[in-house]
Structures are given as structure tokens and as C-alpha cells.
Symmetry: C2
Subunit: 244 residues, 2 copies
């Protein structure tokens, strides 16, 4: 297992706060109950109560809501360093489900663990609130995307957001990244049909902007993609640390 | 001014945690820099940095994002007891703007105030994280609404969500509530045109479900509206307190 000091969560929170030895020790403790979960088996079901949260340390997960008519809206994808279900541990009932898209490694975190951590390291409480705020800022961006951006701009914005998030935890760069998502995932996240996703991706490739093929995203024209997606990474707030 | 013990924020956080005297004192301290802001003058501009957050104690606010093409997506409305710009104080740059829709009263909260509060009262840190999680759950619901619900269901869901939120802070009930929003606000929040909003509201009224007129929402058929909007209030998590 990865030593916690090099864990994705530590890399991510370091964008907000320069972590002390004591804070690293608390994060280490939060990682103690690590488990492997298999692709395709939900960790948390919508409507379940008394949930744990998880810190994802390897693999990809999607969070989604099922509508009564059976359609699925993917709310976001989680990558290493992200919390799964932080809302579920605080709100009594999980308002959405989590499905591992690959086999994953995740550490279980209970409400008591969080309260202990916050008691001993208030700056860590701020950092977790920062991470939650950043998650919310992403959902807001997706809301704006579905409400106001056309399909090409939405896709461009989405692929750039993933590039930035993955770069922060050492899993990609502005040149590209490995990505296990299918066109069905993209469709359910962006509010498009799979056929439309296919057409949009072909268009972006033919315009020399980006290629998504065989589980890899290759960004050919970073500036062009930013312009198309009207992507301003300020909401990801990862030029830290802010608190020293 | 309202004594802080009866403040909307205290009422709201009490749905999560049974607040102690010490915690109430810290909340009192957070309310010390109270000011009045006039309707129509933005508190926080998108892209501004080094922001304070605010605790709203009276009046209505909307948070929105301007798109480069000049269109506006309203992300949410804030009512008494809500934080304004909690994200802005943690993320370096505000990712959205806040406009008071009425004259409001709000208390300024700086990053240092939050860190102090968290240091002395870790349960309050949990409560603030709970409130932030609830805000995020609302944005997720709006995302699902715009992505997957038709116009009537979206409006029904929206009006019921406001009813629940307002009831929690003592400003309404399932029979109805005062509401200063215009059809333009509803349009920009729900991703509809103002004409469409008008038509949807007429439809809901003619079907005997709800009337929104002269600044007041009258709910005639609560069950019928819940069914139409597929509204499940679990994500608002206000049956507390969870932590005693």
C-alpha cells in the first residue's frame, strides 16, 4: 500500500494547507480501514442510511442518482484522493449511489473518526471543508454546463476538469491521462445520448483538439480546448497551499 | 436585532446538532459584524478573491454565475440561516456572485473566525460541514432537475424545497410562504424562459396544486405537488438533531 504521506488525499489537501506532522498522523489514522471493492458493485445505495464515508486511494468511481423513471444522472466521477459519500456520513440518508468503475481501494471513515480528527486538528477540518466546497463548485459547474453550454463546450470543459483534477494527484498532465470512462458514462454525466457523445468526440478529434480512444485522453490543443469549453480552473483552487 | 439563540442559523444547525452553551457563544461571536446590504447590489462578485463569507440573518439572496455569452444561471437562492460564500472564503476565488433580492442583514465571517470557531468547538465544524453538504445536495438536486425533470416537475420540486427550507427556519409551512422571487428568477434558476415559467405556473394553479401570486406561494395540494415533483425531502436532512 502507498504510504499515506504520498497518498492522493494528502497531495490534494496540500493544495489547501501545508500539513503538519500531527495532521499527517491523523490522516494516516483515517486511512486505517482500507479495503478493496470490485468494479460494478455499489458501495453506497441511494436511500441507505447510517453510512460510512470512504477515502478513495486507487481506482475510479461514479456517483449517480436514479430517477423514478429509471434514467440515471451521473453527478460526478471520483478519482484517488476524493471522498466518497462525505455527505452520506453527515446527512442521514444517502442522496445518491456510488459505483466503482474499476476495482478500487478505499478506506472507511465513520462519523466518530471525523469528529475525533476535527477535535485534534481543526486545520484539517478546514481542509475537509475546503475539499467539500471544491466538490460543490464542481457540481455547480456541471449544473451551469447542462443549463447553458452546448454539447461540444460541455465535453471540452469536462475533459479539462478531469485533466486538472488528475494532475493534482499525479495521475495526468495537460497532455493527457488514462481514463476508464465509456461513452455511456459520458452521456449520463453530460445529459447527452451515447450517439451524441460519439459524434461530439469525433468532432473534437477532427478539429485537432482532443482524442479519447482506448482508455486514454490525448489533448492535442490545450489552448483551443480551453477556449471552446470556456474553462477557467479557478473553481478547482489548486494553486495552493493557501494556509501555511 | 434577533438574539442569536433564536437566529435562523441556530435553528438550522439545531437540525444537525444539539448545540451546547459554548457552541451557542461561538455562534454569537460569529454574528458580531452584522450589516445591512441593499437589494440589487452584489455582495460578492464572481472572480473576486480574498472574500469574506456571510451568515444571512434576514432577507433573500440569489447566487448565480454569469456565462461569457451574458446569460445567467442562478445556482440557488439563500434564505435566513444560510451561509453566503462559504466556498469563497475557502476557495481562493469566488466562483459565483451573490445578489440580495431584498434588503438583507448579514454578518461577515473571515477565514480566521472560522478557524477559531473550529478550534474551540469541533462539533460546530461538523455542523458547518453538514450545512455545506446540504447545500451541495441541493445543487445536485437542481442538476438532476435540469438534466432529467420536465418543466412542471422541476417547478413543483423547487417550490416544495423552498417550503421545507423556510419551515426549518420558521418562515413558512406546508400551506405556503412569502416569496419575493419573480418569474425571471424562476426562469434563470430552472433553465426555462420567463414565458414558459408563466405557463407552468398557470398549469399548476389550474390543476389545483399551487398558486404563486403577489409574493406568496399557496400550496393547495401538498401530496399532489410531491407526486408531480417526485419530491423526497431526505436530502434536506432536517429531522434532527443527529448529534446530541
Amino acid at each position: 500500500m502507498t504510504p499515506v504521506k504520498n497518498s492522493p488525499l494528502v497531495r490534494k489537501l496540500s493544495a489547501f494547507v501545508a500539513l503538519s506532522e500531527a495532521e499527517l498522523a491523523v490522516l494516516d489514522h483515517l486511512h486505517q480501514r482500507r479495503r478493496t471493492f470490485l468494479a460494478g458493485r455499489d458501495l453506497v445505495h441511494q436511500g441507505q442510511s447510517e453510512q460510512a464515508a470512504y477515502i478513495l486511494s486507487a481506482g475510479w468511481v461514479c456517483s449517480y442518482k436514479l430517477q423514478p423513471d429509471g434514467t440515471r444522472q451521473i453527478v460526478d466521477f471520483q478519482i484517488p484522493g476524493d471522498f466518497l459519500g462525505l455527505r452520506s456520513v453527515l446527512l442521514r440518508t444517502s442522496d445518491h449511489s456510488f459505483e466503482p468503475l474499476t476495482d478500487i481501494q478505499a478506506a472507511e471513515v465513520l462519523k466518530g473518526d471525523l469528529l475525533d480528527a476535527f477535535t485534534h486538528t481543526p486545520r484539517l477540518a478546514m481542509a475537509v471543508l475546503w475539499a467539500a466546497s471544491r466538490d460543490e463548485a464542481m457540481v455547480v459547474e456541471h449544473l451551469v454546463g447542462i443549463g447553458r453550454r452546448n454539447a461540444e463546450a460541455r465535453m471540452a470543459h469536462f475533459l479539462l476538469e478531469l485533466a486538472s483534477r488528475l494532475a493534482l494527484v499525479g495521475m495526468g498532465s495537460r497532455e493527457g491521462y488514462d481514463c476508464p470512462l465509456t461513452q455511456y458514462h459520458l452521456a449520463d454525466a453530460l445529459g447527452l445520448s451515447a450517439v451524441h457523445v460519439n459524434r461530439v468526440l469525433r468532432q473534437l478529434r477532427e478539429n485537432g483538439l482532443v482524442t479519447f480512444r482506448d482508455g486514454h485522453v490525448s489533448i492535442h490543443d490545450h489552448e483551443g480546448l480551453i477556449k471552446l469549453g470556456e474553462f477557467d480552473p479557478a473553481y478547482l483552487d489548486q494553486d495552493g497551499p493557501l494556509v501555511r
